[in-house]
């Protein structure tokens, strides 16, 4: 038995496949095809949770995505724990473990329910008016110390998982001719018409089964087939025609240029998840045309105590009955402003549910529903209303009254254990609105409907405001055919249609009860009542956005699917304005909540961001290198030998390089090949230096400025020929510099004949530095005369090394004689190996970025991004000589002449000499006195600081106001433990004459 309230037959569940599950520790049985909601209802469970603020007992309001009340946590294990799931969408599987939320100790007896007693205090926005506490309690406020923590603990819905999510998520990009969102009658017909016309079609639907409302239409036929059979036939044909069918897939975001994001659930419905199967998939679809067939959702009626378990939307009850074969109650009272609820009443009556009353709030309803109900002998009260309910954990009666113009006081209590309501239907225009289409308000039917589409898109069926099966099918077919570019759609033969139904009401039902004493809920999850909305209006919140924010209506996890139109109408009523005058809140992505992991997809762990490794990486690793992250690159940081820490290794690497030689993997340097007849002119405009006279075969250190005149990048530029330059950039700056160059080339200097190619990954670079560098390189090189005369410092030659092509630079970033060997990346490992063998044989070393930093600092060479911070000019760095002010123009030239860039008192690069052995901290501030009081102006800061193995002392570089003029002065570096004195010196600590690198 899959629940005592299960009908013996009917519906789309498989009674032969019972499924066991637990809810709050109690074991129940449902069957295949159930949702957690339908299975619990089949077992007579209506009370499933407590509301957010007042902890009111709550049951199922809806049967689908719009459910505001019935949230639960489903846990497979500690990590696979999902809070806040809508039970109406949780598919049942064998062994499912679910629990209710927001109640303690139990959902039947919840201490939090005292909030309901305190509710007169806790109305809209109460927290803005109190809890401010006295001004100050020891540096903090009572709010932060006392009230906020209490409120926080009380708020929040479910408990978040405690462990990392072990599942993984997939991502797919797709293109199609026609994307259809929504697989009900309209969407199926649209997809079929499109596919028949040969269009590549994708059809998605959030449900486990396609068919939408057709799944609850056992009595209707389409083209002579029962509705369900038509659904099956259509799906089969779509599959045959190659359409992509995506059940369990919601369209959640509609972006520009028909870019639509879909979220697909893949495994949550399975009892055992296949190993390695992705849990969900993000589809990023670019569609030529989009057809929205997202349906409509029923609205609750707003009357006092409309939130008790057992109070349900009429259409939801019909879904439970006809799709799941569950009787949601034994004695139903139906209160409605729309004809559709009659269908529910009749269906329930046929299933043996007693209809205690149908209360139609309309003074003069008409139509087949009413007649059929009367014919079936169901008691109907016309022009009635419900002014309250009785019951505590389940509704036990409805207070039925005659609706008069001013409100009703005389009521009769009609016993019932199921109270069904229908306020009419709200078209699901979420995606249409996200697509930037303008909604229009249809005054006659009091609905917001899609206006003119803003993109290549059409809305069909209930989401476009039409009603009835035939209308949905025909509209869908026409839109699908049009989207596929093949003319008209077809019309369908339908029986059991409900085309003539209509009605609906917005806002609260009138009641004569003391408004201070009753609560008529509008937003069920956030516990917002009609009273709250009126209070907000009274307090001057006149825009609907203000009302929403002040009351939190529409801000719960259902995003106001059942509440927004009612709150809008109540606000409009209180303001005495029309709905369009009050405005509409924005429909934001996502349509229903989407898992973070689905967005993140495969971007996790090592795939979080690509790891860039140089071709020498593995050899360096084999040599014991430790690596540091520099942007996406892994760079060899230092090469410790047994027992060495960073400092010991670096000291050894520096000493060995300066005494013998070192080799260094500089492959991460950015490289851009600048080619074309105007290449030199282009560089003239992008760099401060003059390039015209640089002879082929020579290189020069180039400085690049940004528009405001500050140093942006630097690097050696070699001229290979009249029209060809090999430009190097900093490691981190490579993409930025290429963008910057392209930007200027394309927008400012389109007349220049220049082409830019990033060759960072084509050329690997091995720096060989030190007095023996030439001896190491020479035997391996062919075709290049390495003598000092033939190949001086700052020269570049093309030739071969180890038999492979090389661009050999004679440059130094250490202050020693040096070469930078550029070889095609594929040969880099072999060349490194050859160079390393010779280096090692001579007693040299491999060194990493840290030793490189130390050596360049000893030599006073700057690192862009360390000595500079985007406020530093060439002159600040002592590099004023690199700026060819005589050039007609270059990027940043005009800015360099700005008053503040030439004003006295700018910070200038200096060295700092420190007594003792303390290495300063990079970033430490510099003051003129040892004991600076708080608020003292810093005259500079330390940019680089190392222990210098060469000098045998700590060294530092710093930017100091008027620094060069302060040479010899003592300045102070205030630290928490006291200031450190330092003497201002020149920035070059090693070989100031440059003898070594010219050797």
């Amino acid at each position: 038995m899959t629940g005592e309230h299960r009908l013996a037959r009917g519906g789309r569940v498989d009674r032969a496949r019972p499924l066991r599950f637990t809810f709050d520790g109690h074991a129940y049985e449902g069957c295949q095809g159930d949702t957690l909601a339908s299975a619990l209802l089949a077992n007579g469970v209506h009370l499933v949770g407590r509301s957010f603020k007042y902890h009111r007992p709550r049951g199922f309001l809806a049967a689908g995505a719009e459910e505001p009340n019935a949230l639960c946590t489903v846990a497979r294990d500690r990590a696979r724990t999902e809070p806040n799931l809508r039970m109406t969408q949780v598919e049942l599987y064998e062994g499912l473990v679910a629990s209710s939320q927001n109640s303690w100790p139990a959902r039947g007896f919840d201490l939090g329910a005292v909030n309901d007693l305190l509710s007169p205090l806790l109305g809209a926005g109460f927290y803005y008016k109190t809890f401010m506490g006295p001004r100050f309690v020891k540096g903090t406020t009572l709010w932060a110390k006392l009230f906020e923590p209490v409120i926080r603990r009380a708020a929040g819905l479910g408990v978040p998982p405690k462990e990392a999510d072990p599942d993984h998520y997939a991502n797919r990009f797709a293109h199609c001719d026609v994307l259809v969102v929504g697989g009900g009658a309209a969407g199926l017909a649209a997809a079929l018409a499109a596919a028949r016309a040969g269009a590549r079609t994708i059809l998605c639907d959030e449900g486990a089964e396609m068919g939408g409302a057709l799944l609850c239409e056992p009595d209707a036929t389409v083209d002579g087939m029962p509705a369900a059979a038509w659904v099956a036939a259509t799906l089969a044909e779509l599959a045959r025609r190659g359409a992509t069918l995506l059940p369990r897939t919601q369209g959640f975001g509609y972006y520009n240029h028909n870019f639509v994001a879909l979220a697909q659930r893949l495994t949550d419905h399975l009892p055992h998840v296949p190993a390695g199967a992705p849990r969900e998939r993000l589809w990023q679809v670019r569609a030529k045309r989009v057809v929205l067939a997202t349906g409509a959702a029923e609205r609750p009626l707003v009357f006092p105590d409309n939130d008790r378990p057992g109070v349900m939307l009429a259409d939801a009850a019909r879904a439970y009955l006809q799709r799941y074969g569950v009787k949601p109650g034994t004695q139903a009272l139906v209160v409605t402003a729309h004809d559709a609820a009659y269908r529910t009443a009749l269906a329930l009556a046929r299933a043996g549910v007693k209809i205690a009353r149908i209360v139609d709030t309309r003074p003069r309803p008409a139509g087949p529903g009413l007649e059929a109900a009367r014919a079936a002998g169901l008691p109907v009260t016309v022009g009635g209303t419900v002014v309250g309910t009785t019951g505590s954990l389940r509704v036990s009666g409805a207070m039925v009254a005659q609706a008069s113009g001013t409100g009703a006081t005389d009521f009769e209590t009609v016993p019932c254990d199921l109270l069904l309501m229908s306020g009419g239907f709200t078209p699901a225009v979420h995606l249409f609105s996200q697509s930037r289409g303008k909604l229009r308000f249809d005054a006659e039917t009091q609905r917001y409907l899609p206006g003119d589409p803003a993109q290549a898109q059409a809305s069909v069926g209930a989401c476009a405001g039409s009603w009835g099966l035939a209308a949905a099918l025909d509209e869908g077919s026409a839109a699908g055919a049009a989207a596929a570019g093949s003319g008209a759609g077809r019309s369908h033969a339908v029986t059991g249609d409900h085309a003539g139904e209509g009605g609906g009401i917005l806002g609260a039902l009138p009641h004569g009860r003391d408004p201070a004493r009753v609560k008529a809920f509008v937003d069920f999850q956030n516990d917002v009542t009609a009273k709250d909305i009126k209070l907000a209006v009274r307090e001057g919140f006149r825009s609907i956005e203000h009302v929403k924010r002040y009351t939190t209506t529409g801000m719960a996890t259902d995003q106001g699917k059942t509440s927004n139109m009612n709150s809008l109408a109540i606000a409009a009523g209180a303001l005495g304005r029309t709905l369009p005058e009050v405005g509409l809140t924005t429909f934001r992505q996502p349509y229903t909540p989407v898992t973070f992991g689905t967005f993140a997809g495969a971007a996790r762990d090592d795939l979080f961001d690509p790891v860039r490794r140089t071709p020498i990486h593995d050899l360096a690793a084999a040599q014991g290198a430790r690596f540091e992250d520099v942007g996406q690159w892994k760079r060899a940081w230092y090469f410790p030998e047994a027992g060495e820490d960073l400092h010991a290794a670096v000291a050894r690497e520096v000493r060995a390089t300066r005494a013998v030689a070192g080799i260094f993997d500089a492959s991460t340097l950015g490289k851009i090949e600048v080619v074309g007849p105007d290449a030199a002119e282009f560089l003239n405009r992008l760099y401060t230096n003059a390039w015209t006279k640089l002879a082929p075969g020579r290189c020069r250190y180039g400085l690049m400025l940004d528009e405001p005149g500050f140093v942006m990048d630097d690097g050696v530029v070699g001229r290979l020929g009249p029209d060809r330059f090999h430009v190097t950039t900093t490691t981190g700056g490579a993409p930025r510099v290429l963008n910057h160059m392209e930007d200027y080339l394309q927008t400012e200097f389109p007349e220049l004949k220049v082409w830019l190619t990033s060759v960072t990954e084509q050329w690997a670079v091995i720096a060989v530095q030190g007095p023996r560098a030439r001896d190491i390189v020479a035997p391996l090189v062919e075709g290049i005369d390495l003598s000092a005369q033939a190949f001086p410092h700052m020269a570049i030659r093309e030739g071969r090394i180890c038999g492979v092509p090389t661009r050999l630079f004679r440059v130094s970033f250490t202050g020693e004689l040096g070469f930078e060997v550029n070889v095609p990346a594929d040969y880099a490992a072999a060349v490194w190996q050859a160079l390393w063998e010779r280096t090692a044989a001579l007693g040299g070393t491999a060194y990493g970025t840290e030793a490189m930093h130390v050596m360049r600092a000893e030599k006073g060479y700057v690192i862009v991004g360390q000595e500079t911070d985007g406020t530093t000019t060439p002159d600040d760095l002592g590099l004023g000589g690199m700026v060819a002010m005589s050039k007609p123009d270059f990027v940043g030239k005009r800015s360099l002449a700005r008053p503040d860039l030439v004003a006295p008192g700018r910070k200038q690069l200096v060295g700092l000499a420190i007594e003792g052995r303390t290495v300063l901290e990079e970033g430490a501030q510099i003051t003129p006195t040892a004991d600076p009081p708080v608020g003292t102006h810093a005259i500079g800061h330390v940019t680089s600081a190392y222990w210098s193995p060469t000098a045998g002392t700590p060294i530092a570089l710093a930017l100091v106001e008027n620094g060069r003029a302060r040479t010899g002065e003592t300045v102070f570096v205030p630290m928490p433990g006291g200031a450190i004195a330092a003497r201002v010196v020149g920035p070059v600590f090693h070989d100031p004459e440059g003898k070594r690198l010219n050797g």
């Binding site: 401010m132 903090t140 603990r153 978040p160 998982p161 001057g540 909540p593 989407v594």
Partner: protein, 416 residues
Amino acid sequence: MRFSLANLIRQSFAGHQGWPAQWRDAAPKPAYDAVIVGAGGHGLATAYYMAAEHGLRNIAVVEKGWLGGGNTGRNTTIIRSNYLWEESEALYNHALTLWQDMSQVLNYNVMYSPRGCMMLAHNIHDVQVFKRHVHANRLAGIDNEWLSPDEAKAFCPILNTSEHIRYPILGATLQRRGGVARHDAVAWGYARAASALGVDIVQNCEVKGITRDASGAVSGLDTTRGPIATKRVGVVAAGNTSHVMAMAGVRLPLESYPLQALVSEPVKPMMPCVVMSNTIHAYMSQSDKGELVIGAGTDAYVSYSQTGGLHIATHTLDAICELFPMVRRLRMLRSWGGIVDVTPDRSPIIGKTPVPGLFVNCGWGTGGFKATPGSGNVFAHTVATGEPHRINAPFTLDRFRTGRLIDEAAAAAVAH
């Protein structure tokens, strides 16, 4: 009526019928002594301080939509003052000081919550830059501490400090007085307090033109609710500033970008503070309601569209899941965007313009919420007296001519 527990209790017996409108729904008068354009937090705070501290009561704030509906109502409310340059330190710390007792001063619970704002370092360059901030802030008397990865983990236990992630956390700075506040309450609190002092807050009133007299000085505004005569105008229009200033022929060095944010469904408390990572582009805190509040950097292209691209959200969330791997199963509830006005040096422009009588307060970009009280306070001084306050004196428009930039982005590339 004052907001207090006593009045709340009293009103709860009276069905809350006695609460008056929090601000008057003013219609524009023909003339004012001064008009502020833009009823965001900054504009409302400006008007409040003009009334409260400078005695100007015949003034108005005009707003094209609903008050607080711009970036003030869209931001992720991170508050901190541990900026690098002395000029910024003074400005943001002035604001942070005003946050401390704003609720009491305005008699509106703005829920300022000094939960601590932590910024993560993922590489050696980050470490250098953050330590520079710590040292600079210490000299300026601004709290900002350096935390080891273990200390960071102790402060925020859900942080993934494993050494084996793609960009391991090498340390963090923490400003304990940093935190969050309730954005709407800030706008409403200032609106209510300003209105009570006589300031007219005129909503649904879009400025369409700025009129000038023969001397070139401001003489009034053309609005969708009619002309308003005034000799002093303060423009505080965030992402729309370029448009408004163009009405007076003033060009500003501003670019407008979409900036997105998102929240999760509410869950029980899991996140005790604010954590920001600039290197991997994401930050997160948890609201009092239980939603995780998440954001990142701007879209790459200038635009006035408040819908940003999906790829920004995906990158933001992959970073968040990397830092907090247990949130991967939580769900995005809502996402949205605002238009932020960005200056070349990422610092605001607060002061005079070449047009006499016209003042501007803009360029707050991705990080101006935290400055709301301080910005309003010094801008009120500027508009009321015609001269900048000591604190906003460096934030001139002229600095882009002289080159005296206050480049927070270049120094650290820190947003928010």
